[in-house]
Symmetry: C2
Subunit: 203 residues, 2 copies
């Protein structure tokens, strides 16, 4: 492992061996790209035999899918929870951006792999991920629409605004490095303020 | 060629064969990744022999560098020209975002390759590109600072604001597709309005 991976990645994945393989795959995909990585590379990096990998994943693409689905499902769950916690659209949007941005900063290595290798997913798996993304984007649009209806937000185009909100957060994974000055939490708060202004909110 | 490439890519590159090789490399890198692409793949896609490739580029990394340097140098020149054309920081920022966003939408295939494969550049070439990015980011910070001094902008943190402005534009290359509804020009105008609000500008 050349880069640190947060310990709380995939707490839902069992057994440990499957999680170790996913972590090893993230490292390999991040350093040499998905296409140039073999299942043997992943197994070796996880300290296992290629045969042991196939016990958990039928193919290299299944490891990529597990990583990608987990990331997208947890993002969607975070957005759903945030909306459930905050009835006020301004509070919901602020907390959503704080969490979304901090998440992409903390998990930038995984998030980068997930973004870069999306096109490498087989068609059916790709659709599952696209569906999770659509649901997330649709929830963000709903918060913006509610805010516009309540008069808190003024947006010329809800779709473009929702895209910009998510885009700002996702792109954090591209440029963020552990050496970056603002911590994930501070960056999340700064971005939440920028997003609220972008949506025409004046405190 | 499976994806369309704008005809005006690399108008500065001579001879034609070098430009054809760069276009073929973009296609190959975009579809299978830099690491899994060979110089033979690139030459074949350009309808040339591997030996003919070496006449123009000493290595695969030299093709990637030519693509990446050209994209970054033209972006920097665009930002410099925009600032030279507009003394008012609000006008400068609006035009800058319009052009930056439209550029990343129009040239999303190339821009995506350039972003994804940045880490694949050899150390010295990487530094050249990082230097071009730093100069671009520094110019954006200067416009924001001038706007803050004139009272047109209010930003809590100039560095984070500049990063957000560029991040929004760069990430367009990730999600934009020719099927996307807003045209590059319209998207540029929408994003320019969002950015001006983000910087605390009220018209």
């Amino acid at each position: 492992m050349t880069r640190p991976l947060p310990e709380d990645l995939w707490p839902d994945v069992r057994p440990d061996a499957a999680r170790r393989l996913m972590a090893a795959a993230v490292e390999s995909f991040a350093s040499r790209g998905y296409h140039a990585t073999t299942t043997r590379d992943i197994a070796t990096a996880a300290g296992m035999s290629p045969a042991a990998l196939y016990v958990h994943f039928p193919a290299k693409s299944a490891v990529l899918f597990a990583i990608s689905r987990s990331g997208h499902a947890r993002t969607l769950a975070m957005v759903e929870n945030t909306i459930a916690e905050h009835a006020d659209p301004v509070d919901a949007m602020r907390t959503l951006v704080e969490r979304f941005v901090a998440w992409h900063a903390q998990r930038h290595v995984v998030a980068r792999v997930v973004q870069h290798e999306l096109d490498a997913l087989p068609a059916q798996e790709y659709q599952v991920v696209v569906d999770l993304r659509r649901r997330t984007e649709s929830l963000v649009r709903e918060v913006i629409t509610r805010g516009a209806e309540s008069g808190a937000f003024t947006v010329p185009d809800v779709r473009t605004a929702a895209r910009a909100v998510l885009s700002l957060g996702i792109d954090v994974a591209r440029w963020y490095s552990p050496a970056s000055k603002p911590s994930p939490t501070v960056l999340g708060k700064q971005y939440a303020e920028l997003v609220l202004r972008m949506l025409g909110y004046t405190s």
